[in-house]
């Protein structure tokens, strides 16, 4: 069997998904593709079932917040892994801060359950059709999503620590 490389994977993905791939680049040793949020579920399903690719393992789901990019403030990152080719693939999709909704991939991977709950817990991203989208690590009474950049790590009212003296 011919082992795939990032470039042959990229070609294959472009022929499979064509215009559904909005952008793709190779960052360090990993291929990264950007897709629209409504396409994520189908693309991951195809990646998983397509026998030549067989991205059989979901490594990680996480969120990133980019407050400056208006309309695309929140990013959901899916790390897929094909054990057949020992290749990783990162799938990114951008959501707006007003309505961060995306389809849950729990029907495809059971492990997505807690990863999506964690992403919701910290970034407020809503996963539709998730069986139990509640907070997981933070307390239930919390009324904000702590990993968003507008929430500073330290108490803003403190006066005894001046960031200028700490190189920040």
């Amino acid at each position: 069997m011919q082992k795939m490389t990032n470039s042959s994977l990229s070609e294959r993905l472009h022929s499979l998904f064509e215009r559904r791939i909005l952008a793709s680049e190779e960052l360090y040793d990993c291929l990264v593709i950007e897709v629209a949020a409504p396409d994520v579920f189908d693309i991951i399903q195809e990646l998983k079932s397509e026998s030549q690719l067989s991205f059989n393992f979901l490594t990680l789901i996480g969120g990133v917040h980019y407050p400056e990019s208006t309309g695309q403030e929140l990013c959901v990152v899916y790390h897929m892994h094909s054990w057949k080719h020992a290749l990783r693939l990162r799938i990114k999709t951008y959501l707006s801060a007003e309505n961060p909704r995306i389809q849950s991939i729990t029907p495809l991977f059971d492990c997505a359950n807690w990863m999506e709950r964690e992403t919701y817990d910290f970034f407020g991203i809503q996963f539709d059709n998730h069986p139990n989208l509640t907070r997981i690590l933070n307390m239930d009474e919390m009324d904000y999503f702590p990993m968003l950049k507008q929430h500073p790590l330290e108490d803003a009212t403190r006066e005894d620590k001046d960031d200028r003296f700490f190189g920040r």
Binding site: T59, L60, C111, P146, M147
Partner: protein
């Protein structure tokens, strides 16, 4: 026996009181602070007699916001955070993080550093597995099996101490390599360990491995099929016990792991006994790797040329302007970092420990996410224990080695 049948006394034929499942449902709090959880997390079990019908998990009791903290710390100050993930094998977490940053910097690391790292990481894996397997012994009622390996684990901790001064939260090594070479005492102690450990290990192993009581107790308890384990994102010894030979050290070799000859043990049934056996064999293989790495330890520097992150010698700081500047930059967290994003993973004690790092060129990561293997596979726990007894739930929990620090980040 049909649970609805009456029990008949064999000698006199009298009907005995029914003591089988009675249909009365009770709720039991298994945790947060329960001796058998070995950490702070809660399972609310719904039981019918001894049989578990359902389990609801609550995690996050020791959540310490590591990912948020990391967004405000310079890269070298993140190492102590990683200590507190899986604190049974902190050196793996530390060195995994250093390798992640080195990958971002495209730093060239000498072969000697790789081999030194392999030795330290495999020692950590042995320490991690020793704890997990001895705790399975405790939870099946064999307390002696807890004390035997702990005298051996102590020797590993002495080796850590010799390298970095700490034992549990090690903060071992630096970005770029190690702060110092193996000391003469370390060499002596490591040689002594390599000589005495195999015997001590087999002595302890003999208490459990073919022990009829232990086998009857653990075989079939908390089993999971390969398919389900894969769907639940299992990695590490738990996945291998289910029969899948995925190991990051082999699939994506880091730190020169491809130089060494070792076997990836796999189980068949994915039950508690298989998890125990896989870990025991991994200890033997780790020992083999350490021997190979130590006997072929290359000559050379114990750190790479990474001036932006690796502190210069103190005497240079006093005598050399450039060294003083770098020293100041590192201490103040002003090192230049390229813009980029990477995912790097190492084979931790519990499976694939990953670091997803996004750098915007600032002094601290823009985003750092840890792939914590415990957090991902612990969701399978209700499925693994539903239908079994409470006592099986206890040994299943200890055999999947859920470490609260890694679970809650």
């Amino acid at each position: 026996m049909n649970p609805n049948d009456n029990l008949i006394h064999l000698s006199n034929g009298q009907v005995l009181a029914k003591e089988n499942i009675d249909g009365e449902i009770a709720t039991i709090n298994f945790g947060p602070t329960h001796p058998a959880t070995h950490g702070i997390f809660q399972n609310i079990l719904t039981v019918d007699g001894e049989k578990i019908l359902n389990s609801v998990q609550t995690v996050g009791y020791i959540h310490r916001a590591f990912e948020k903290l990391a967004e405000r710390r310079p890269y070298n100050q993140i190492t102590p955070i990683t200590d507190r993930l899986n604190y049974c094998s902190s050196p793996i977490n530390n060195l995994g993080w250093h390798m992640t940053v080195e990958k971002l910097l495209n730093a060239e690391i000498p072969k000697r550093v790789d081999y030194m790292r392999v030795i330290v990481m495999e020692l950590a894996r042995i320490a991690d597995h020793l704890i997990c397997d001895s705790i399975i012994g405790v939870d099946t009622g064999a307390l002696t099996s807890f004390f035997y390996p702990f005298s051996e684990r102590e020797k590993i901790y002495e080796l850590y101490e010799e390298m970095c001064g700490a034992r549990l939260t090690t903060n071992i090594g630096r970005i770029g390599g190690f702060d110092k070479d193996f000391s003469p005492v370390f060499h002596t102690k490591l040689k002594e360990f390599l000589k005495t450990f195999p015997l001590a290990f087999e002595e302890w192993n003999g208490m459990l491995e073919r022990n009829r009581i232990f086998m009857d107790r653990t075989k079939g308890a908390g089993s999971i099929s390969a398919d389900r384990a894969l769907a639940y994102g299992f990695t590490g010894p738990n996945l291998r016990a289910a029969g899948i030979d995925y190991d990051v050290r082999v699939m994506h070799p880091y730190s020169s792991y491809s130089d060494f000859d070792f076997i990836i043990p796999v189980g068949v049934n994915g039950d508690t006994y298989d998890r125990f056996m896989v870990r025991q064999e991994e200890i033997r293989q780790s020992l083999r790797i350490i021997e190979q790495a130590y006997n072929n330890l290359p000559e050379g520097a114990f750190h790479g040329d990474v001036p932006e992150f690796y502190l210069p010698d103190k005497k240079d700081v006093y005598n050399n302007m450039e060294a003083l500047i770098y020293h100041f930059k590192i201490i103040m967290g002003e090192s230049a970092v390229p813009v980029g994003e990477i995912y790097h993973s190492v084979e931790g004690g519990n499976g694939e420990l990953g670091y997803y790092l996004i750098s915007d060129g600032g002094r601290s990561p823009y985003r750092l996410q840890f792939r914590r293997p415990c957090f991902i596979y612990y969701q399978a726990y209700p499925e693994m224990i539903t239908g079994s007894n409470i006592s099986d739930a206890v040994i299943t929990l200890s055999s999947i080695n859920v470490i609260a620090g890694e679970l809650d980040a």
